[in-house]
């Protein structure tokens, strides 16, 4: 192994400091006794308690989770279908154009996506509320889903689907019984991605939201304009905690699956 030089050590420290210092400060101050965010006055968990009393925040959190759940589910279904067609659909006129267009929202400024959706909803006379936010989130997270799923489909052995067809499965059965179980990890991770994207979206949500559909990011943002309260720190800490637990669980699970697979293969090699 190469020596761990002072240069490497410095870059690593700086890099991680850059990434995590703000979050660490946020977590520390969430346990601050004082109401003043920047003055440390001793350890306390009272802001967590107050957060649980705050109806507005709880409502917003519930709305956010609902929106994230429905939009990510819808986006996963639509995005997987789009990926399937674009990767497997064979040649059809305009295929290249469509493949390019599905990626466009990835690079489109959110402000423009939000504004255009707002104009559309007004144009067709759709009342703004939870439904419009769900639709808007579906729109922009769908393309992330199709990117993730189509990269999995590209590396997927085409002959598996052909074998299913060859054995008498209808194209839908072949997808349901063979393709879907195999690409399931990619579909699940794209669902998680869509869920997180929806959770933290502020710009598009604020364009398309209406009365009774205030999501947590909107709530936090408007609260911060009146001054940062330790309650918000507490809320953010909880969110960081949830994300950390989720990421660690996911990586542990995937590592264990890989390990099991390797062990099974070794066992097979021995019996062969």
């Amino acid at each position: 192994m190469r020596q761990f030089s002072w240069f490497n050590a410095t870059s690593l420290t700086l890099g991680f400091a850059f990434l995590y210092l703000p979050m660490i400060i946020l977590v520390i101050y969430s346990f601050n006794e004082s109401r003043l965010v920047t003055v440390w006055a001793g350890f306390s968990t009272k802001w967590y308690g107050e957060l649980l009393q705050n109806e507005e925040f709880l409502d917003a959190a519930w709305v956010t989770v609902k929106v994230a759940f429905f939009s990510s589910t819808l986006a996963t279904v639509l995005g997987t279908m789009a990926a399937q067609v674009l990767v497997r659909g064979g040649r059809f006129p305009g295929r290249t154009l469509f493949s390019g267009m599905i990626y466009a929202p990835l690079v489109m400024p959110e402000v423009i996506t939000g504004l255009s959706l707002l104009l559309l909803f007004i144009g067709i006379g759709l009342d703004r509320g939870v439904l419009t936010v769900v639709l808007a989130h579906t729109t922009f997270s769908m393309c992330f889903v199709s990117v993730v799923v189509s990269s999995r489909l590209t590396s997927f052995d085409r002959s598996l689907e052909e074998a299913a067809l060859d054995l008498g499965a209808s194209p839908f059965d072949a997808f349901r019984l063979v393709t879907l179980p195999i690409i399931a990890p990619a579909v699940i991770s794209s669902w998680l991605l869509a869920f997180t994207l929806s959770l933290d979206d502020l710009v598009i949500a604020s364009f398309t939201t209406g009365p009774g559909a205030t999501t947590l990011p909107i709530k936090v943002f408007s609260a911060v304009r009146l001054g940062v309260s330790p309650e918000i720190n507490a809320l953010s800490t909880i969110m960081i905690g949830i994300v950390t637990v989720g990421v660690i669980t996911a990586s542990l699970v995937s590592k264990r699956t890989a390990l099991q697979q390797a062990r099974a293969e070794q066992a097979a090699a021995r019996t062969a």
């Binding site: 067809l165 054995l167 062969a272």
Partner: protein, 466 residues
């Protein structure tokens, strides 16, 4: 080594199995003027072919010759651009793959990784909406056929390559298809396993009576398993025939050189008549009168013991009184008499070179080669004489054969059971002669740089035009 392993099909049932020669037999599959184009590229070019029931049909050719496209058209993954494909007389051009009584074994095996061996085999049966018991009994039957009972509950990644290959075979046979397509089925197996599996495949094909179409680029594999072999090149069938015919009587230089090893000697063909054949015979006889015969000209048996003076004295004075007079006769069998030698030479002499055929002028100042099996039609044409190396003899002394060529050994490829001698003829042409190593290599009498005679019989080669 490859061509030395040609095994004729020996079982009596396959020996008589020649539906392609029976005009009353109805083909299972008919290609009628089938063309398949991908954009500008023509993968299959106006192909017409009949494949019969219970056949083991091999498609052989280099990569990109269209063999895989043919197979995918049979499975339904590609539709012909022009022409028709008939299965049992019915056009299947527009029938989707899941509605055809055709199953395919994929090159990658395409086993479903998330299903157990048992469920993989049951997959096709379940799609037929059969009841549970009949599915279970059919799957168990397939597991028995492919000797996979022990692995029924394993996932594909938990079994070895050879076992995966058998699962793929069992899965594709489970639905009892009219036609089974095998796309390079043994490509992923190592040589030894592949040879075993070839025989297993043949057994299974005979047991189930299914028609097999196999795609392969391994000519040895095609020759081993197939009842007929189709050699393809650039979307066209070059020759469709039994393995023996393909090997012994290729119809073109392409087939001759694609299957096995071959020596090609180019020359001009002349009609062979008795007048040209007659002088050739006595000349060879006078020249090649075996030398050993002249050695035994004396009547005195060279093997008779001839004691020297000292030995004679010892015998007469000392040994004879004690042991008795020694009989002055050799202990070995008597040497052959002149008459016996002549009779033996008569027997060994090649059976009279058949009449007819062609002679081929291939180099100046050398006698023309005799090809008694040559087509008289080629008279006067530029032809190629295709000779298999194992049909060539090699010797240091001029052998008594209708065709002999002089050359120098350039290289010897020792393959264990056989050796291939690369001989450069006087004209610069390189030919290969293959000899079985019946003696130990240390006792081989031909070595590098030796002047040798390469010989072959009047019917050993095949006369082809380019």
């Amino acid at each position: 080594m490859a061509q030395s392993k040609v095994k004729p099909k020996q079982s009596p049932s396959t020996a008589a199995f020649e539906p392609w020669n029976d005009p009353n037999e109805k083909p299972l599959i008919q290609f009628k003027g089938v063309t398949k184009r991908f954009g500008d590229f023509t993968a299959i070019d106006n192909l017409t072919l009949d494949i019969f029931e219970r056949e083991f049909f091999a498609l052989l050719g280099p990569s990109g010759c269209g063999k895989t496209t043919m197979m995918r058209m049979l499975a339904g993954f590609e539709t012909p651009t022009e022409g028709q494909i008939l299965l049992s007389g019915r056009d299947i051009g527009d029938v989707p793959p899941n509605k055809r009584a055709v199953n395919m074994m994929f090159q990658s095996y395409a086993l479903f990784p998330h299903l157990s061996v048992w469920d993989n085999i049951a997959f096709g049966l379940r799609r037929e909406k059969r009841d549970k018991d009949s599915i279970a009994s059919r799957v168990d039957e397939m597991l028995r056929l492919t000797r996979l009972e022990k692995f029924a509950n394993r996932k594909p990644h938990q079994i070895s390559g050879g076992q995966r290959q058998r699962v793929a075979l069992a899965r594709s046979l489970a639905k009892a298809p009219k036609l089974l397509l095998l796309d390079e089925p043994l490509g992923a197996l190592d040589r030894k396993l592949r040879e075993e599996t070839q025989f297993e495949l043949m057994d299974i094909q005979e047991t189930t009576g299914t028609t097999f179409v196999i795609v392969t680029h391994d000519q040895e594999e095609a020759m081993t398993v197939a009842s007929r072999v189709a050699v393809m090149d650039e979307g066209k069938m070059v020759q469709v025939a039994t393995p023996q015919t393909i090997y012994e009587a290729p119809n073109s230089v392409y087939v001759a050189s694609f299957i096995g090893d071959v020596n090609l000697i180019r020359g001009t063909a002349n009609l062979r008549n008795v007048a040209t054949a007659a002088p050739a015979a006595p000349e060879s006889e006078s020249e090649t009168k075996p030398e050993p015969v002249t050695k035994i000209e004396t009547d005195e048996d060279p093997r008779k013991p001839q004691p020297n003076d000292y030995g004679k004295w010892l015998h007469d004075r000392l040994l004879a009184p004690i042991l008795g007079q020694r009989v002055d006769e050799p202990k070995a069998l008597p040497a052959p008499t002149k008459a016996e030698l002549a009779a033996a030479a008569e027997l060994q002499a090649p059976v009279d070179v058949p009449e007819g055929g062609l002679t081929i002028d291939w180099a100046e100042n050398t006698p023309a080669l005799i090809a008694a099996n040559g087509d008289p039609e080629f008279d006067g044409n530029e032809v190629v004489l295709a000779l298999r190396p194992e049909k060539m003899g090699i010797a240091k002394t001029k052998p008594d054969a209708p065709n002999v060529m002089r050359g120098k050994v350039i290289d010897i490829a020792y393959l264990g059971n056989i050796s291939t001698y690369h001989v450069e003829l006087k004209t610069g042409t390189m030919v290969k002669a293959q000899v079985a190593n019946t003696r130990r290599v240390s006792r081989r009498n031909i070595t590098w740089e030796d002047e040798v005679w390469v010989s072959f019989s009047a019917t050993a080669g095949v006369v082809l035009t380019e």
